[in-house]
């Protein structure tokens, strides 16, 4: 009852303030000039990114440096997580010892197999069509990371590791992705362009498919980096609690 009164007071105050504010508030109907510039120039215009998707062209072209540093923040956050849970060589070998077994009933596992395949296809589509439709490397990578998570839930993490996707491989894939981003950003310097320049160095179209210049490469590499980075983290999180307490030397 006491909580309910607090809730009602908050609701009343919110609605009252909202009513008071609404008398002098006109909802926003026009575009900001900067937004208009991006919408105009995304596909046509002198500063074109050759991509009809304005959001992706901002993320990887107009504001590419911002995204590069945000990727650096992502990189450091994942490295920090891996460092907090670091294991010695013997310990990580011991963490891999276990039987891949079905932890959930048969129908759940069968459905998981189908859904994992679908998630892989959908996440690749999100990432590789990022220059045409809503989506891109970040979203595709986050969707990709759901697939190993589902396998861990339905089959346990040993199934994933027995099939070749262990923590080291995930970190290697992630490093390949980050290296690809860095190399794509440095490529324009070879032909006397600017750092992270898109047009006219990268081809806007290939075989009739619009690529958006460098956007498709950035999206592909970011997809790998985000997906594999989260996979490595999930693999570490799924180490059983008893094993980890043994490694740390704390009692139950």
């Amino acid at each position: 009852m006491k909580r309910l009164i607090g809730l009602i007071i908050i609701l009343t105050i919110t609605l009252g303030v909202a009513y008071y504010v609404s008398q002098n508030l006109t909802p926003q109907k026009s575009l900001h000039p900067l937004g208009k510039f991006y919408l105009k120039n995304s596909y046509f215009g002198d500063y074109s990114a050759k991509s009809p998707e304005a959001v992706t062209s901002i993320v990887w072209d107009y504001r590419g440096l911002d995204t590069l540093f945000e990727t650096a923040v992502f990189f450091i956050a994942i490295i920090g997580s891996l460092t907090l849970f670091r294991l010695s060589k013997e310990q990580s070998e011991e963490a891999k010892q276990g039987e891949p077994k079905r932890e959930l009933p048969e129908p759940v596992c069968a459905v998981t197999k189908i859904i994992v395949a679908m998630i892989l296809a959908v996440s690749a589509s999100i990432a590789l069509h990022g220059q045409l439709t809503p989506g891109g490397g970040f979203q595709g990578g986050s969707a990709l990371a759901v697939a190993p998570l589902l396998i861990i839930a339905a089959y346990s993490k040993y199934a994933l590791e027995k099939n070749g996707l262990d923590k080291t491989r995930a970190i290697i894939i992630r490093s390949i992705g980050l290296l690809g981003i860095a190399l794509t950003a440095l490529t324009p310097l070879l032909v006397k362009g600017y750092f992270m320049q898109n047009q006219p160095i990268f081809p806007g179209k290939a075989l009739g498919a619009p690529l958006g210049g460098s956007l498709v490469y950035y999206n592909l590499f970011e997809y790998l980096a985000v997906g594999a980075g989260f996979t490595a983290v999930f693999l570490l999180l799924s180490i059983p609690e008893e094993k980890f307490r043994k490694f740390l030397g704390v009692k139950q």
Binding site: I10, A18, S22, L31, F44, V73, S81
Partner: protein, 133 residues
């Protein structure tokens, strides 16, 4: 009516921000602090997206539907601002990575100290520092 709904949206988001800041400061449990932090981050993201929204009908996503220069004007009249969306897009994934880092730290604190309460965990810390001298 529309301006009332618009202001209800904005004010309720700001109230959510205030409540989540209260949660971060006042709750002693680390997991509850993390939950409040994620609510804070998501609300901030929604507020930023709201900055670029246009209260018109019809309103379209910032993707060029027809690749002709003649279609550009009607596109400009209906599309929302792409810049806040682009800023939020990266912020969501970065926020998730930073949340994972905090979650890892909380799990490790629980394993070592056996408690999630900051008042109890704080009592262990001076002993730990003294031992290292």
């Amino acid at each position: 009516m529309i301006s009332l709904l618009w202001s209800v949206t904005i004010v309720s988001l700001i109230v959510t921000l205030i409540i989540s800041v209260y949660g971060i400061a006042a709750k002693p449990n680390l997991v509850k602090k993390l939950i409040a932090l994620t609510i804070f981050g998501d609300t901030a993201n929604v507020l930023v997206v709201l900055l670029g929204y246009r209260v018109i009908y019809p309103v379209k996503p910032p993707i060029l539907p027809v690749w002709k220069e003649s279609a550009l004007q009607s596109f400009l009249n209906t599309a929302v601002d792409p810049l806040p969306q682009a800023l939020v897009l990266t912020a969501v994934v970065i926020g998730m990575a930073v949340n994972i880092l905090i979650a890892f730290a909380i799990i490790q604190i629980y394993r070592i100290y056996g408690t999630l309460d900051v008042r109890e965990a704080g009592r262990f810390l001076p002993n730990l520092l003294r031992r290292g001298e």
